[in-house]
Symmetry: C2
């Protein structure tokens, strides 16, 4: 008799549940629910205005996802809830909210309903940049050793800059909250009634490490004297490694979802990291790129190494027993979306429509006919800054080699190639710093839809590229962790690696580097590398000067002499 | 009683006659005639195939222009041919043909009708590049002093590379020809029955100078022993300065055109150079840019200076008594045409159509709202290589500062600005080499149609920009020289400067630099300049390497390892 696990993937705009057969990884049903409040980036529902770069969510939406999608997948699959032995979840991160001792979000309380700081700060809430800058400066000055584990910089997206912003702008919220928790952990708390803190978000977003714990009281005091005891006061929950069971579905949640009370629930997880077992990665040397609008790179390693520009290295941060590495490119698919929106001539749109093709498919068909090097173009993939190796948001895009004969499909391909060079740069930086990589795995939209892009990646990085078998990698990964939470005696697994091997999924196709193409791309990458260092490492700060001038002109109008 | 002059402007695809009132410069009538053979770049009319980069014309077309346009303007204006006292012409250059002693083009002779080398080689015939390269190498090796007068390089477009190609590939044509003449001079020969050679094409295209004459026999012998006496054998016609009368309309031409036999005809001229008097330039320091698909810059100076990358300096080459300077940008309007063809999204085309606007007008309207520096973009105007200062066809285009927010109108404006930076680079190079420039004049399509572009030019070069009053500048300039050929006693002028002041034409508008914008453009130009030197002077030869790789890949397929 088959047993099942449900994985729930919380994205930026919706949550998705997938019901998976344990042992095979077969996906029997899936269901998506759009957050009613979506992303609040201009105002609260009551009309309270938000500042620039804000991005909030309403945690009720996360509960609504459970209420809608779980009954739906059970019904679609025709599976008895008694046979669902585990539930796993993954979330965007760092997505955080202030809550009371019992887990009640501050924004549910009448007295804080109109206060923006009482809501969930979504990962892409960027209004704490000044706090991040100050934090980094202080950390560097105090010689904090943990800074190197984060490539030398804490992002404004992460926990402490966001928490510090609350303290600074809404001390009443800071005072009144009992915990500042990751949504990834909050949803588990709601499902099980038990508060936990997962090692993944604690490590990558909360400056925690298994060996060293959190930064010192002295450091937090240097940020703000009121934060001296922030860990005890606002983060007072021990950290649990990934792969463990967090608790069991409560009676109340059972009524809401149709699951059986007592069903095992896994420790919270993060969308990118949770995908590792979904593509059967169980060892070091295999980098996974989750390729969408941006790309997140995750990788297991046996040793802790400091790699410039990486997002972080966290012991047990992805799979137990390994150091999990994370890196990223801030703009991948967004390049192609920008190009299609701003640079594709009407004649191409018409030809695509006539051929009954989507414009990406049409451009890809033309770009596929080009040989590597044939366009004479090289681009720097910095249309949205650089968060890999250089970690500099003030860098901008560049294209070189344009002529009167340059065609749209050549520019389109050059942008795809540029993102592949960006990935190669990350891979080479890891390798140079002692973290081996000898295979590349790709999941996410681009990996599923664009074989040309995948061949280009294989040729550029000169490594075989394997493709995720599921288009719902994170949800599948969550289901795998759900099966592990259930344990072998309940029809699940005791070991996440075995679960990954049996339930993870890869396509049959492997994109192997073509030696001729790889040789041409070696030469093109050398040009990329030269431009990367020239514009990215201070030899010519044209991009920064142009950006500064742009901001000055926009804010003050034309400069006077 | 008014007197009149007719100016005839021979372009690449058509000839245009304008009938002008002497004393006022008022244009009473104009008439255009398209060359029946247009540009022959793939085959002769008999099907004989042409090579890559060939561009030929049939000289009969030039005669047909006279036959059609002159009667037409006389009729339109209702002017008696007796009151037309002068005719002037201008031509593309270097546009050359082999002829017999009596002026008969070789291609009119039955025995040479099927030989491509018997036809007119149009200015843009680029198939003699290997000859130009060899010529330059030999000239440099022999330390030829005249090389500096041409910015250090003779172009493949000019007389001797083209003539050498004839000798090399069709010695029978070389043998049989008595003269290799500029079409500019040939048409005068046809009108007057008198062979002349004008100082403008002789100087700029034929390596002739008033003081030093032609290169030495030793030099020509070094090219090919058969060319030792090339000047006596194929160019045996003395050079006449501009502003002189060449002869008078013959009886036969009078019958063909409706002009009176005996009407004065001016010495031949070139389309760009002839425009100087049409915009009233009568002194040094005033650069004229003839802005179309490319831009030709012409300028009068009191002294001979060597300026890197200029096309040439020729005494009496533009106006008598001055050193005429010529420089150029190989790609100006072509940038915008490329952009509109390859990079403007369908949504913009639709909005333009809805507003009843041409797409250039629509983009300009949007680009006009941007402040200098607001886009954060800088481009290098090298989509068709660089023929100013750097003189390097292997350079290619570049754009920097691109972001996900970059809009088409920003890129469009960045390209316009790039061409303005290119012009500033030329101006600064002239000034640094002792040739003063303190005003800029613009003629040609862009100057007439795009006030935004003209304001950008004024702000970027930080000089007032004056605009040609006539959209037919070359034809008006030719008419001015026609009036001078007639002389004062026949109702014309004895002095071309006086003729220019009375008949030349400027618009009332002057684009004055706006100090705030000029200050921003100083900073943007500094970025252009830095990129110009970095990519153009050898610090990073990425453009050349990419082009070489492109050629290798295209010709040999993918490189093998």
């Amino acid at each position: 008799m088959s047993k099942y696990s449900i994985g729930i993937d919380y994205g930026s705009l919706s949550g998705r549940a997938v019901l998976v057969e344990i042992g095979t990884g077969k996906e029997l049903a899936s269901s998506v629910y759009d957050y009613p409040h979506a992303v609040m980036d201009t105002e609260l529902p009551d009309g309270t205005r938000l500042g620039v770069d804000w991005a909030l969510q309403d945690p009720q939406d996360y509960i609504d996802v459970l209420e809608h999608t779980i009954p739906d997948v059970l019904k679609q699959a025709g599976v008895d809830a008694a046979d669902v032995v585990g539930v796993g979840t993954d979330f965007t991160a760092c997505t955080v909210l202030p809550v009371k001792k019992d887990g009640t979000p501050m924004c549910f309380l009448p007295e804080f309903r109109h206060n923006p700081h009482a809501y969930v700060k979504l990962w892409k809430h960027h209004a704490a940049q000044d706090k991040a800058n100050a934090l980094n400066e202080i950390a560097e000055k105090m010689g904090e050793s943990w800074l190197a584990r984060y490539g030398g910089k804490i992002s404004s997206e992460w926990e402490f800059p966001k928490l510090w912003q609350v303290l600074s702008e809404a001390p009443e919220v800071y005072e009144a909250m009992d915990y500042f928790v990751e949504a990834a952990d909050w949803i588990i708390w709601q499902l099980t009634g038990v508060q936990t803190r997962n090692s993944c978000t604690a490590g990558y977003k909360g400056i925690w490490s298994k060996r060293e714990g959190y930064p010192s009281k002295e450091f937090f005091k240097a940020l703000d004297p009121r934060m001296e005891n922030v860990i005890e006061e606002k983060m007072g929950c021990p950290v649990t490694p990934l792969g463990r069971k967090a608790g069991e579905v409560t009676e109340a949640m059972a009524r809401l979802t149709g699951l059986r009370a007592g069903t095992a629930v896994a420790i919270g997880n993060v969308d990118a990291h949770v995908t590792i077992p979904a593509v059967k990665i169980d060892a070091e040397g295999k980098m996974l790129g989750i390729m969408g609008t941006s790309t997140c790179h995750v990788l297991l390693g046996k040793k802790e190494k400091n790699v410039p520009g990486m997002c972080g290295v966290v012991e047990d941060g992805i799979m137990p027993g390994f150091f999990g590495y994370e890196a990223g490119q801030s703009c991948v698919g967004d390049h192609f979306a920008w190009f299609v929106k701003n640079c594709v001539p009407a004649s191409y749109e018409e030809a695509a429509a006539k051929a009954g093709k989507n414009i990406h498919a049409y451009l890809t068909e033309l770009a596929e006919k080009l040989q590597p090097g044939e366009s004479g173009l090289v681009a720097l993939d910095w249309w949205n800054g650089n968060r890999s190796v250089l970690v500099d948001v003030d860098l901008t895009g560049l294209m070189i080699g344009l002529t009167l004969q340059t065609k749209p499909e050549e520019m389109y391909r050059a942008l795809i190639e540029a993102t592949a060079y960006g990935t190669r740069k990350i891979i080479e930086t890891f390798k140079q710093n002692g973290v081996p990589i000898h295979e590349f795995y790709a999941s996410g939209g681009i990996s599923q839809k664009n074989p040309m892009a995948m061949q280009i990646y294989a040729d550029v990085i000169n490594l075989p590229v394997r493709i995720a078998g599921s288009s719902q990698g994170p949800a599948l990964g969550s289901a795998i962790f759900g099966a592990v939470a259930a344990g072998r005696k309940n029809g699940g697994y005791d070991d996440v690696f075995q679960a990954a091997r049996e339930m993870g999924n890869l396509r049959d196709v492997v994109y192997a580097p073509e030696p001729g193409a790889a040789a041409v791309y070696d030469r093109l990458y050398a040009e990329y590398d030269l431009l990367h260092d020239y514009f990215g490492r201070g030899a010519n700060d044209a991009m920064k000067r142009l950006k500064a001038l742009k901001i000055a002109v926009k804010s003050k109008g034309m400069l006077s002499k």
